[in-house]
């Protein structure tokens, strides 16, 4: 069975001083129906750009220059703009990091969701409004009837995010792309929103592509995890496998630096150095400048995709060498 969304060799460039800078450089992943895939990485590693690229929403002057995004058998990157529009919002929806600014401040939230529904379905305003009322209840907005006429500035951040989720789910999309959906919310609200997302995903069998830098969230909700570093995937694995036995040195570093895993009284381990900016990325493994186990070819040759177990892929010379030693071939 092929995946619902197959992203292959995706490459997104921004113009730079010395030619185009690929902020997303050859990213490939699959998203299956009803699955939660977490795309993890530090700020600036290109995870949000990957999400924007799949919906062709890369802000100018950026551009998707290569690759394919096959959704249900159709390459989205080849679609005419008008058809792309009918897919956005109706079959693939997106929620954003900043619920504070994602709603139009001069339109009541009820009407905004109504318009989102009526964009893709030919139903009357009254029908849409009653559906919005149900949706608001479903995403846990207290007193949905009264909130329909509220303006964004009258709602708290958590409520706004719930409205955004209601809007994204209003057309029963097959994929929900959530770009750091809980980053700007406080911890208790974070937990509620995550719980809500998981519930909705289970009930509606929606696939979720979760973009986050928070491994705690990943551990709670994801089925599979793709770790990104400097525009490239470095490791892709089922959640349990990754959390119990990370293979790539970067994944290992990330997991070690989780506060929940550190020992009390000990300084929190960190990965030495900083992420290089796109114009200083090494030609070989992107992580080679900070890698504790780097050796000779790392800086010059990009590691091959190494399939470790079923569903588990790593891009690392060290892993390749070890596996080669075992004669796994």
């Amino acid at each position: 069975m092929s995946a619902l969304l197959e992203v292959r060799n995706l490459r997104t460039c921004f113009p730079g001083k010395d030619g185009p800078l690929p902020v997303v450089d050859g990213v490939s992943f699959d998203l299956n129906r009803g699955e939660v895939l977490a795309l993890v990485g530090e700020s600036g590693c290109g995870k949000s750009m990957t999400a924007f690229s799949t919906l062709r929403l890369v802000p100018k002057p950026g551009r998707v220059t290569d690759g394919s995004v096959v959704f249900d058998g159709v390459d989205l990157l080849e679609l005419p703009v008008t058809q792309m529009r009918t897919i956005r919002g109706s079959r693939i929806a997106m929620i954003f990091q900043e619920p504070m600014t994602c709603l139009n401040p001069v339109v009541s939230v009820g009407r905004q969701v109504v318009e989102a529904i009526r964009l893709h379905e030919p139903i009357t305003k009254g029908e849409a409004m009653s559906r919005v009322r149900d949706l608001f209840g479903e995403v846990g907005i207290p007193d949905p009837e009264a909130r329909l006429g509220a303006y964004p500035h009258e709602l708290s951040g958590g409520l706004k995010q719930r409205v955004m989720i209601a809007m994204a789910l209003s057309t029963r999309p097959e994929i929900l792309i959530a770009d750091e959906p809980t980053t700007s919310l406080d911890v208790t609200v974070q937990a509620q929103i995550l719980e809500l997302l998981r519930e909705l995903q289970r009930e509606r069998n929606t696939a979720i592509l979760l973009i986050t830098h928070d491994l705690g969230i990943v551990n709670e909700i994801a089925d599979r995890v793709a770790v990104m570093y400097a525009g490239r995937l470095v490791e892709s694995a089922p959640r349990e496998a990754l959390f119990s036995n990370p293979l790539h040195p970067y994944s290992q570093g990330l997991l070690r630096s989780m506060p929940a895993r550190s020992r009390p009284g000990q300084p929190l381990p960190e990965i030495e150095g900083v992420v290089p900016s796109p114009d200083q990325w090494p030609t070989g493994c992107r992580f080679s400048t900070r890698c504790p186990v780097r050796f000779e070819p790392c800086a010059d040759i990009f590691p091959n995709e190494t399939r470790v177990e079923n569903e588990r892929t790593v891009w690392c010379h060290e892993v390749e060498r070890n596996l080669g030693g075992e004669g796994a071939g």
Partner: protein, 343 residues
């Protein structure tokens, strides 16, 4: 196309205006934010709003016109002319020459008046009642201010929002246009345009609109550039909203406060500009500007004829002051930068 007589147009305009006003009121009442803004505006500038409303009433009274029903012996009126309600109130008020307010006799010469004591503000050199002319000026002023703003703001929005949203070639083109307009002296351009189109209310309005849209165009372009990058526009795009709909549903409504503020401020500016044009001899017939211009010689007479210029000047001053007071409050109520925290 059918040829209509002027009074038919005028009556049609009144109907249109009333329909538009009703629509506006219904929109404001339906949308809670606007309703609250309107209420606060009313609380802050009650008197100014009433004054503007009075001017509008006078303008309306002077716009409803029909033919016939004129007394046969009325002086200075063609028997077949179409007369407005206001005209009818002052029909047969014509004297032979100047008279002072409430006078029984002519100002120079001392001959008895036809209607002694009935001219509240006296009469002008041709014996026309000054109060009547002043009231008639209200319609002209409102027409100039309103029509010009209604022409200039959509023009500015079209170019400004288009340039800001789409950028690129269109932006270059708009800036080229703006630069050209900005590098010409406004008054000269006004005169040239009016000369080219021929004097008349419409051509004065068009000329004023052409020379005054640039400022708001810049403002709306800058504001669009800002809004374009906001998350809710991106979110709309992620929902599959088309570009045209994003402009109509997300950009323009978020410019609405600027549109209202600009409309009110532009309005008074245009009425004043018309006075300048009248002084140059290319104004609109029957405007206060023309009355003031016509009174230039009267100021050098001995004894001085003051009521003509006084009435027109005060009427103009009153309207501008009231509109500016409303405009100032509109800005306070709508502009988020001056927004006070709710208590």
């Amino acid at each position: 196309m059918m040829e209509f007589e002027p009074h038919v147009w005028s009556n049609g305009a009144v109907v249109l205006l009333l329909v538009a006003l009703t629509g506006l009121v219904r929109f404001v009442r339906r949308d809670r934010l606007w309703r609250e803004a309107a209420r606060e505006l009313w609380q802050r500038r009650r008197i100014a709003i009433i004054v503007v409303g009075l001017y509008m009433m006078i303008g309306l009274v002077d716009s409803i016109a029909w033919k016939g029903g004129v007394p046969e012996d009325a002086v200075g009126v063609l028997p077949n002319a179409s007369l407005s309600l206001l005209d009818r109130a002052f029909v047969d008020s014509r004297e032979a020459s100047y008279s002072a307010p409430f006078a029984d006799v002519e100002f120079y010469g001392g001959r008895p008046l036809r209607r002694p004591g009935s001219h509240l503000l006296g009469t002008d050199i041709l014996g026309r009642d000054v109060l009547y002319r002043t009231l008639k000026g209200a319609r002209v002023a409102l027409l100039i201010g309103g029509l010009t703003s209604l022409l200039a703001i959509p023009l500015a929005l079209f170019f400004g929002v288009g340039a800001g949203y789409f950028g690129g070639r269109f932006d270059d083109f708009v800036f080229f246009l703006i630069s050209i307009l900005a590098s010409m002296p406004n008054v000269l351009l006004l005169i040239a345009l009016i000369m080219a189109m021929g004097a008349g209310t419409l051509s004065v309005c068009v000329a004023l609109a052409v020379t005054s849209w640039v400022g708001f165009c810049r403002l709306s372009r800058a504001e669009t550039l800002k809004i374009r990058e906001l998350d809710y526009v991106l979110a709309a795009r992620a929902l599959g909203v088309s570009e045209a709909k994003i402009i109509l549903r997300h950009i323009i409504p978020n410019l609405a406060h600027l549109i209202v503020i600009t409309f009110v401020l532009m309005f008074s500016g245009h009425v004043l500009s018309e006075a300048v044009l009248s002084w140059l001899g290319i104004g609109v017939d029957g405007s206060w500007g023309q009355m003031i211009d016509g009174a230039r010689d009267e100021l050098s007479r001995e004894p001085i004829v003051w009521w003509n210029i006084g009435a027109a000047g005060l009427a103009l001053f009153g309207l501008i002051l009231a509109v500016n007071a409303v405009g100032d409050a509109v800005r306070d109520v709508l502009d988020p930068r001056t927004l006070r925290e709710a208590p």
